[in-house]
Amino acid sequence: MNIYDFTVKTNKGIEKSLADYKGEVLLIVNTASKCGFTPQYKELQELYMKYKDQGFTVLGFPSNQFAGQEPGTNEEVAQFCQYNYGVTFPLFEKGDVRGENAQPLFQYLTEQKKFKGFDSAHPIASRLLGALQEKSPKFLDGDSIKWNFTKFLVARDGTVSGRYEPTTSPLQMAGDIEKLL
């Protein structure tokens, strides 16, 4: 079983085999509804624009599974929403990324790369952890996707080379992406 065995559906409902991306460096991410407290679309789009000519793409999988667990907003948190489709990288059909109905692709990714905790240096890390402990403690069990914008890097040969939690901003991944290009 490898990453190219998976077939997913585009946001237009068309089946797409990940084998079509063979030889490219992939950043696979579960994107969030537009008002998530850490919208990372902008940086994902920046990475995509910067590296796409070198055989890199971002694959976004919208999921709204975490909406109900959003940490309380306060002044430090950006008070805006992002228009979902302000990005030009491929977006796929909305679906679950954790739990019984999780898309097989995400089951595979989380098996390949385990959860190693949030980056506590990130300003939202403690609040995110607190919100999960309070509202969805089960989400913290095991290696499942914990939150929106969990990112996986896939090398040109299909190896899942890294997992980056929501507490890693996309631009922080630039160095790792360049190593794979």
């Binding site: 537009k34 902008k42 008070q79 805006f80 228009y83 302000g86």
Partner: protein, 76 residues
Amino acid sequence: MVKVYSISNCPWCDKVKKYLKAKQIDFTEYNIEEDEAARDMCYKISGDLTVPVTTIDGKAFVVSFDKAKLDELLGL
């Protein structure tokens, strides 16, 4: 005329609109999910598709619900 660029189900957009209403400021709302021309305009103004964006002249603008900046923009 004050313009507010928004999307649906956007709590921060709602707050800006409520705030403007409370201050009795007339404004026109543009939902960039539904209105492609407004989406392009919003992008032109702020260089992003983040909302709410509040502007009068399309040059000076405020992203998000930021009371201090809104007051400054609107001369309150």
